[in-house]
């Protein structure tokens, strides 16, 4: 069943970058695929707005966490822009994951006291 509008959750500020980096961990990817991947793996709970996705991608590129290259899309006669994770990006992702885990843990303790 397709989720209704109400089932969607807003992305927490700053988490989109982490999600993008995480997606790129499995290999180079283009913007469309990144958006689809996030939506799919979150069971459509997270809708990536394109007005946020592309600024985020360009921001990551500027910070040197991803690089880009134009390449043929597999099976299509079309060139798309691929984003690749850099070693610095990997390190950044680890740092963000750690912080995220801490945050979830902390919030969980508050919301569901043992």
């Amino acid at each position: 069943m397709a989720p209704t509008e109400n089932d969607r959750v807003e992305l927490l500020q700053g988490t989109l970058d982490m999600l993008v980096l995480q997606t790129l961990l499995f290999g180079p990817c283009h913007g469309h695929a990144i958006a689809k991947h996030i939506q799919r793996t979150s069971d459509e709970a997270l809708l990536v707005e394109h007005g946020s996705l592309y600024p985020a991608l360009h921001r990551l590129e500027r910070q040197g966490w991803v690089t880009t290259k134009w390449d043929k899309a597999p099976g299509k006669n079309r060139e798309v822009k691929y984003y690749l994770l850099t070693p610095a990006g990997k390190k950044q992702l680890t740092a963000q994951q750690n912080r995220w885990a801490q945050l979830v843990d902390a919030i969980g303790k508050v919301m569901r006291p043992a």
Binding site: A33, H50, G51, Y54, P55, H58
Partner: protein, 870 residues
């Protein structure tokens, strides 16, 4: 990668994204057209995505500013009338500020044109006794020698600040020039060497030393023309032969207007016995100001112990060091402080005024701004745009302010020729323009801040917002402007009353059809009383013989001038414990009172026959009688003037307006005694001719140019080596005497007029926007039968009430201006009721008219049209 390429790449990337989305949808079975459409819709606004992405590129900030400035310029072009009004207000305010700054810069801030001028200072004397202190700018010869002999941290120089008109003869030509006497070290300490030749040597600066002169460049040109070398030439100064040893560079100024310098030859006797010298020092390299000041103070201890004065007080005297610039401009400090305050107020009023204009326009733009905010513009963006709008208009005004400043300064020059040196050397240069730019930016911020804040706060524009509430910020701005203009108007009013009083001081003589010219008798050839008397006698006779001349006289000084101070004692015989009191003395030819038409009140005038040196006589004026004779009539009384022999008063004449050399009003009727030139000893003449150049006074209906040429030729036949000074009229002397008052009044008057104009504009704007907002409501009222006068009265109310609040708020501000004004107004109380009343009337009339004008629009209002007009 440049900006365009990046943009294209981004667009390609987004297009690819949408095409892939469409591909997917097509694979799910949608038609090609539906798929493309759905992909677009799913993507959302491509423009927004691009915009936000672009925002992550770093050069965006500058680009945004550039774009916003372009937009602001376009908006400014769309409302030319409004833009022009704002620009004009700013141009007036900033232009005035810039011009005044140029004046202040010259007087206080700009370094004097001497190398390392901050190492130069004056040394003056401070007298202290029982908590009182007095400053003496001039030193005696003995004090100078003490200072000179004990200086280790600085190099001292001595000079006299007094200039005297003297005769300068070269070949068969003679020039009336201004001479200043300076010590041998003067030029060296100032740090300016002659352009040709050299300064004075120690031998030349000693008594009986060789006679040497240094010329100013203008005088060199006047006397020697294009001849290449003036050094070594001979000339006659005061009838004595001098050798030119140097020529100062063009543009050199010693602090006074001098054409020629001669050695001072300082001594402890003669003039050196009195306070006639000034001392200037230059700190030696590496010496701090504090160390030098300390040494100056400590040298005071070497001064001989002070003697008690007549009333028994012991005045302790000490040297004091005073920075050069401060010393030169101490008398200008107060007036310029006043002007600085005034111009600051005008700038503030101008900025607030523009703020009001912008705010009024804001209400018209409320709908637009609300729409923009609804479309996603942030508050910050709106705030920034509105601020930018005001900045753009203000900057246009700032550009217009440059010509405005030039015009103001030029106008100042034309109307204030007597404040020549100050006004003349002021110019609109890089410094004053920088000040103007700073003022412009400041004004832009002040003007834009409130409207910008207001706009970002406005929740949304619709017509139901209560109009009256929206007027409050506008009303407050009007109040602030009115409050600020109150002290300005009062200051101008008090100065105006002072000026009128001074200008109207009873001249005491008939100033029409008079011209005067001076001659210097500080001349070696006039070495006996008889020679001087013959000169006057024959000169008067020959001038009198000219056709069209109604009367001729001569005297040491003329009305509106500073007179010779003279100690006087009343009574024929000395009385123990009696004291000299100060009056003024004028020696005259017998026709003096007659040609000036000074009325003789009692007794007789001076006569040709008053020649007997053993029976001296004098005519005194009424002020003299009132001050010294305790209600007695005067005629027949004896006084003693300086010397021992009693002088009989033979007549009493009316007072004349004279320049006051002491504190008090600059022009006043002063007590004076007139004595016949035929009874003045040659010793007395020698002394006074060092300071004063006697004047010929001629009454004639002839054109001054014609008359002056004739008088010059008469003098040419009498003594070709005795040049006449420039001809002046009593009006010119009067203007000179009141130059500072006049300058102040014209500036403060212009500034307060400008302030008032801006206030009136502000009130007009307030009432006009209130009327505009309430047109519909008023239309309904009129339709329902409200009377037109009643409606007008109501419409005027905000203008009047806010102004009144402003006036009340302005009264406390008057206290701030009081101390500044105190030394500048004479004969008028600082709380002069007439001035206050006048100001109140003017202000109320102005704001009343400004409120009435826009309200009158309502008389042309057709209720039917207004009601349908929505």
């Amino acid at each position: 990668m440049n900006r365009k390429d990046r943009d294209e790449e981004l667009e390609r990337e987004l297009r690819a994204h949408m095409e892939m989305e469409a591909d997917e949808l097509r694979e799910r079975g949608l038609s090609a057209a539906d798929a493309t459409y759905a992909a677009r819709r799913a993507f959302g606004s491509q423009a927004l995505a691009m915009e936000r992405t672009r925002a992550t590129w770093n050069w965006n900030v500058f680009e945004a500013v550039g774009r916003n400035v372009r937009l602001a310029l376009r908006r400014a072009r769309h409302t030319p009338g409004f833009t022009l009004t704002v620009a004009l207000v700013i141009a007036l305010a900033v232009g005035a500020t810039t011009a005044i700054f140029a004046l202040i810069d010259v007087a206080f801030l700009k370094p004097l044109p001497y190398p390392e001028q901050d190492r130069l200072a004056y040394v003056t004397m401070t007298w202290q006794a029982a908590g009182r202190a007095a400053d003496e700018l001039v030193l005696t010869g003995m004090q100078w020698e003490v200072l000179r002999d004990h200086a280790t941290l600085f190099e001292p120089a001595v000079y006299s600040e007094w200039t005297a008109g003297i005769n300068c003869g070269v070949g068969d030509k003679a020039f009336f020039v201004q001479q200043q006497r300076v010590g041998a070290d003067f030029f060296r300490v100032l740090g300016v060497q002659p352009a040709f030749g050299r300064g004075f040597t120690k031998e030349e600066d000693a008594e009986n030393g060789p006679r040497a002169a240094v010329l100013s460049e203008p005088l060199r040109r006047r006397v020697f023309g294009d001849a290449p070398d003036a050094v070594g030439q001979k000339l006659l100064l005061r009838g004595e032969p001098y050798t030119v040893v140097g020529v100062m560079p063009a543009g050199f100024r010693s602090g006074v207007n001098a054409d020629v310098w001669t050695p001072l030859k300082p001594s402890t006797r003669g003039e050196g016995g009195g306070n006639n010298y000034q001392a200037m020092i230059r700190l030696k390299p590496g010496v701090s100001e504090a160390a030098a000041a300390g040494e100056v103070e400590s040298i005071s201890r070497v001064l001989p112990a002070p003697k008690p004065s007549r009333d028994g007080t012991v005045w302790e005297s000490r040297f004091r060091m005073q920075p050069l610039l401060e010393g030169r401009t101490s008398n200008l400090r107060k007036p310029l402080l006043l002007l600085l305050g005034a111009v600051g107020i005008v700038l503030l009023i101008g900025a607030i005024n523009v703020g009001g204009l912008l705010l009024a326009r804001q209400s018209g733009r409320a709908a637009e701004l609300a729409t923009r905010m609804a479309l996603g513009a942030s508050r910050g963006q709106v705030f920034r745009d509105v601020l930018l709008d005001s900045m753009v208009m203000v900057v246009i005004g700032g550009a217009l302010a440059i010509p405005m400043a030039y015009i103001s300064l030029e106008g100042l020059r034309r109307t204030n020729d007597s404040m020549f040196s100050l006004v003349e050397s002021a110019e609109i240069d890089a410094r004053s323009l920088a000040a103007g730019v700073l003022c412009t930016i400041l004004a832009g911020f002040i003007a834009g801040l409130l409207p910008a804040w207001q706009s970002a706060r406005t929740p949304g524009g619709n017509r139901s917002v209560a109009g009256r509430k929206r007027l409050i910020p506008l009303g407050v701005l009007v109040s602030v402007q009115v409050a600020l203009v109150v002290p300005l108007l009062v200051g101008a009013g008090l100065l105006g009353r002072t000026f009128l009083k001074l200008w109207g001081v009873n001249a005491g003589f008939d100033p029409n059809n008079l011209i005067m010219a001076r001659i210097s008798l500080q001349d070696a050839r006039y070495d006996s009383s008889e020679k001087v008397q013959r000169l006057f006698r024959e000169g008067v006779a020959r001038m009198q013989a000219l056709p069209g001349v109604e009367g001729v006289g001569a005297g040491l000084t003329v009305p509106y001038e500073r007179q010779l101070n003279q100690g006087v004692r009343v009574g024929a015989q000395p009385v123990p414990g009696e004291r000299f009191r100060n009056t003024n003395l004028v020696y005259t030819t017998p026709g003096y009172l007659d040609v000036l038409r000074i009325p003789l009140l009692r007794g007789r005038a001076l006569r040709e026959s008053d020649t007997d040196p053993s029976a001296p006589v004098a005519v005194v004026n009424e002020a003299f009688v009132r001050r010294f004779l305790d209600g007695r009539e005067g005629v027949g009384e004896y006084i003693r003037l300086g010397g021992k022999e009693p002088v009989q008063i033979v007549g009493v004449c009316g007072n004349t307006a004279q320049r006051n050399s002491e504190r008090g009003a600059p022009v006043e009727p002063m007590a004076a005694a007139y004595s016949p030139v035929s009874q003045v000893s040659i010793e007395a003449m020698r002394t006074v001719h060092q300071w004063f150049s006697p004047a010929w006074i001629v009454r004639s209906k002839l054109q001054p140019e014609v008359l002056s040429r004739q008088l010059e030729s008469v003098m040419g036949t009498l003594d070709p080596m005795l040049p006449l000074s420039k001809f002046t009229t009593p009006e010119q002397l009067k203007s000179q005497a009141l130059g500072m008052q006049r300058l102040l009044l014209s500036l403060l008057g212009a500034l307060s007029g400008l302030g008032l104009l801006l206030c009136v504009l502000g009130v007009y704007g307030l009432v006009a926007s209130s009327v505009a907002e309430r047109t519909r409501e008023i239309g309904i009222r009129l339709a329902l039968g409200a009377s037109v006068p009643g409606v007008i009265q109501k419409a005027m109310r905000p203008g009047l009430l806010w102004s009144l609040a402003g006036i009340l708020a302005g009264v406390p501000l008057l206290y701030l201006g009081r101390t500044v004004l105190a030394g500048l107004i004479y004969g008028v109380s600082e709380v002069d009721p007439l001035t206050y009343l006048g100001i109140a009337v003017v202000l109320l009339a102005a704001v009343g008219a400004a409120s009435l004008l826009p309200a009158l629009k309502l008389t042309r209002l057709d209720p039917a049209v207004t009601l349908r007009n929505e």
